[in-house]
Amino acid sequence: MFAFIIARLFQAVPVLLAVAAISFAMFAYVGDPVSQMLGQDYTEAQRIALVKALGLDQPFWVQYGRFVWAALHGEFGLSFRLAKPVGGLILERMPATMELALVAAVLALSVGVPMGVYTGIKRNGLLSRVFMVLSLIGVSLPTFLIGILLILVFAVLLGWLPSFGRGTLVQIGGWSTGLLTLSGLKALILPAVTLGMFQMTLIMRLVRAEMLEVLRSDYIKFARARGLSQRAIHFGHALRNTLVPVITVVGLQLGGLLAFSIVTETVFQWPGMGLLLIQSIAVADIPVMSTYLLLISVLFVTINLVVDLLYYAVDPRLRIGRGGRH
């Protein structure tokens, strides 16, 4: 098992280097940081001096090497827009996005899986049909529209929940959390629902389709013939057999939630990484964009590793030759 993890980490190295090359290429070839930093009036001598100071006169691979070396030490340069270290900027914003994405994922899983199981078992029930129609809406409505509708109903018309921001925060070490205060939790509800809605309906439909497949299988028929309880059959035998595809999709979706919560964060003015990214894109703040790209690739590699480990936990057939035979 340990060897497997090490092997996977080594496989991740070329992926990360490739992403680093792309994000470095953004640095090197998109826009001209020198002219941006110099402003309107400058002499040729000043320009050359700055180019030398920034090391831009070096060959590409030297610059790339320096970039990777600096990134390994957690240095990602200064934001053009805010003139602060990018690493710090992103770290500052990370808790907001992490909390939002995790709450959205938990919501999507804890509602989506039971709904999927239910609609899979009671295929023709009235409630199942209602769920299926609702899920169609969830899948097809764009996120920003759901967000705006939720704001209209719960913030404007009913006035129950705030329409923007994170509410009152508590600092724990370097982590600012909104999970410990009432106003923080209230502020989290609408964005989390908005962000999790699509995932929830996706998970529900996936679990349903898998359940229908598994419930037709011989081992479920045999479990029935053995007189096991409905509960044991549906949640013990059937649900576990649906998990491998569900884990795959949920893993990818969680990465997606973290990386692309941009729309939701914009609608709710949520001070997370997505909002930072969209603001940086607007002014071509390349260091922030390329660092973000790197960070997201690390996230995806990590999530994929976790997903692979979960496969092994769920399906004993994959353990042969890895975890040792029984």
């Binding site: 299988s217 011989d218 081992y219 028929k221 045999f222 479990a223 029935r224 013939a225 053995r226 007189g227 096991l228 309880s229 409905q230 044991a232 013990g236 035998h237 576990r240 057999n241 769920v314 399906d315 004993p316 057939r317 042969i320 035979r325 029984h326």
Partner: protein, 321 residues
Amino acid sequence: MALLDVENLTIEFPTRRGTLRAIDGVSFAIDPGEVLGVVGESGAGKSLTGAAIIGLLEPPGRVAGGRIMLDGKRIDDLSQERMRAIRGRQIGAIFQDPLTTLNPLYSIGRQLVETIQTHLGLSDRDARARAIKWLEDVGIPAARQRIDAYPHEFSGGMRQRVVIALALCAEPRLLIADEPTTALDVSIQAQIIALLKRITREHGTAVMLVTHDMGVIAETADRVAVMYAGRIAEIGPVRDVVKTPAHPYSEGLMGSIPSLEHRVERLRQIDGAMPRLTAIPAGCAFNPRCPAVFDRCRTERPELLPAGATRAACWLHAGGR
């Protein structure tokens, strides 16, 4: 008293183009400890009858008439929950393909223990001890070590042994074995049949053995029911049905078995195919293929009539043409 008594069982499938009658007035009984073989071509309704008895007909199929009695108590109209308590505990079942019958994600020990605990309410330790004993009983070598292995770590024959242990571990009085050897290698088939015979005799379990393999029936069953197009064509002691079949269809089936003792130039075959459910002919369903057909067969449907030692649904035995 018979352990299982099926009376006039009728199974229907409602479809858009009308109701299909897949099983039509089937009656038979199984005594305690008796092995009843059920033979017939694919689609004759053998498996469907078995599924109806354990209450696992796939919708939209449904029991449309008749009664199924177990130990004198009617079981075809029980609620899902009460029927569940009967499955496994009083009626066990084995299916065709041992490779797909076991849940791949759970160890065989876990599957045995959960079945034992569901029906017998034993403690974890007692249930596990019983599971190991059952695995030894069905001939799994090193059962104590193998109990925590997963299904994919066993061969097909070994898995069918595990399936037999699972079907019998709550000591049901009746076992429905639906083509238990069809998916196995020929060399393994004989072992599994021998195991089934031994273990059901030891426990006094009655067996309804569904198969299309006459050889298996001849070797295992006490009585045999020959099914054709959703009805019983002939039923009687296995020796009589094999040696002196009374129904032309049984005769055709027996004629198609190669014999070691007699030299046969060509195996007989029955011309034509079994009718589809949508086009069952009037009169006797077998009449278009029957070599001994006469007028009455085309208009009137025969019920089971005494024919020597067996009973056959054939007008030949109505006492003169």
